[in-house]
Amino acid sequence: MIDIKKYIASGILEIYVAGVLSEKENLEVSAYAKQYPKINDEIIAIEASILELSKRSSNIQPYPFSEVKDKINIPKEPKVLTLEKEKSVWPMYFGWAASVLLAIGLFLTYNQNQELKSELEVVSKENMFLEEQIATSDTSLEKAKTLLNTIRDKNIDVVPLAGQTVAPDSYAKVYWNKQQEKVFIDAKGLPEPPDGFVYQVWSLKLSPTLTPTSIGLLDTFYEDDNKVFALDNVNDSEAFGITLEPSGGSEGPNLEQLYTLGVVAAS
């Protein structure tokens, strides 16, 4: 039996509605909400005030539901266009061929290409979503399966990163899917970063000169329970390193704070 009044007064229910509690606390609060109607009522009242506030925070008009409905019901198959009999289908093939060539061309001009940037955005959103799913299914078998499948993928290269001078006991693993240009960092073996600092992951070219390229920050280290992070890696990496950097990351790695390092095995 908990002291319901005290529990409510602690303010934990407000944080629960904000969605920024740890997973363990979330489970605790929802279990209490099921058990004690008073706690459930309080949660609903808190939510009502946030609904009221968020409704008034902007004058924006959402799209009508019909538009959303159209989008979710789009059939997966493309529509078949009927062509007039006399018309040759060759122009259509040429059209397809041309667009394929164009698509290849776009890939080659990758870095300058705005359109591909938006594709990258989509990919990074998917990454985030995937990562979120991995994190939220922490307690379930689902998570183990997803992780296992991800790292069992035949296209995955595993690169163990060993602890360096500043933290000899730390370690990490990089699961690199070259085909999907993704890396999954298992950072369970890294200590929690001190306040104001963040781990930054680097792709390294070893020859002709040592060239580090940042592939991302592990900036949700504190909240992330499973410590597996999905990042994009388009580089032809020869090694991976993880350094501790001030919040927000750095342009170049601080090698004095190099925590782990590992070389990609030549294939």
């Binding site: 007064a9 602690s10 303010g11 934990i12 407000e14 944080i15 629960y16 509605v17 904000a18 969605g19 920024v20 997973e23 979330n26 489970l27 929802s30 279990a31 949660i43 009242a45 808190i46 939510e47 009502a48 005030s49 946030i50 609904l51 009221e52 506030l53 968020s54 409704k55 008034r56 925070s57 902007s58 004058n59 924006i60 008009q61 959402p62 799209y63 539901f65 538009e67 959303v68 409905k69 989008k71 979710i72 019901n73 940037k117 955005e121 990074s124 959103k125 985030m128 979503f129 979120e132 799913q133 939220t136 299914s137 306040d195 504190y222 909240e223 927000g248």
Partner: protein
């Protein structure tokens, strides 16, 4: 129909249930996105994407881990923050507090085009600035208690209780309307 059974139906891909949930929450979710992204057109698109996303990922919602609205709110905040990150607003988190819905209250009337200014003003009248800030960080930006404490320069232990007294004031204001 109770919220629980509505959500159950939604998880079974019932579009009618989805439509009801959309009418319940779309204005809120779009509003939160708008306060982050600021561009109205983009916000509407992102908001639509968020609802499409929750439809396709309805399986991943688990009521034992939080409220349904909180679940959408989390996805919406992530999508909105992703949007401004992709536009390379590098230090966006640090610049947040000067803007929206905190800032909107201090602007002259003719500039208040984005918020339901009158309704909002009534709702947050007599709320201290510290209150508006903490609410904004926790609910609209998804800051953890630790991050909010750092941003506001207060001890982590006081975030929960301060926020509770702020929300209580908000609830009083709501009842008086």
């Amino acid at each position: 129909m109770t919220l629980d059974s509505l959500v159950e139906q939604f998880k079974k891909k019932d579009t009618l249930a989805f439509e009801q949930l959309y009418s319940m929450y779309s204005k809120n979710i779009c509003g939160v996105i708008h306060t982050i992204v600021k561009n109205e057109g983009r916000s509407q698109e992102i908001c639509q994407d968020v609802f499409i996303k929750i439809w396709h990922n309805s399986d991943s919602y688990n009521s034992s881990k939080g409220r349904f609205f909180t679940w959408i709110l989390n996805i919406a905040r992530n999508a909105a923050i992703d949007e401004i990150r992709s536009k390379s607003y590098k230090n966006e988190r640090k610049n947040f507090s000067a803007d929206y819905f905190v800032g909107i209250l201090e602007r002259p009337d003719e500039e208040q085009t984005t918020a339901d200014a009158i309704g909002l003003k009534k709702l947050v009248k007599n709320l201290k600035e510290k209150c508006v800030q903490i609410i904004e960080l926790l609910y609209f930006r998804g800051y953890t208690q630790k991050e909010a404490a750092e941003e506001l320069d207060i001890p982590v232990g006081t975030v929960k209780t301060r926020n509770r007294s702020c929300i209580s004031q908000l609830r009083v204001n709501m009842e008086q309307k």
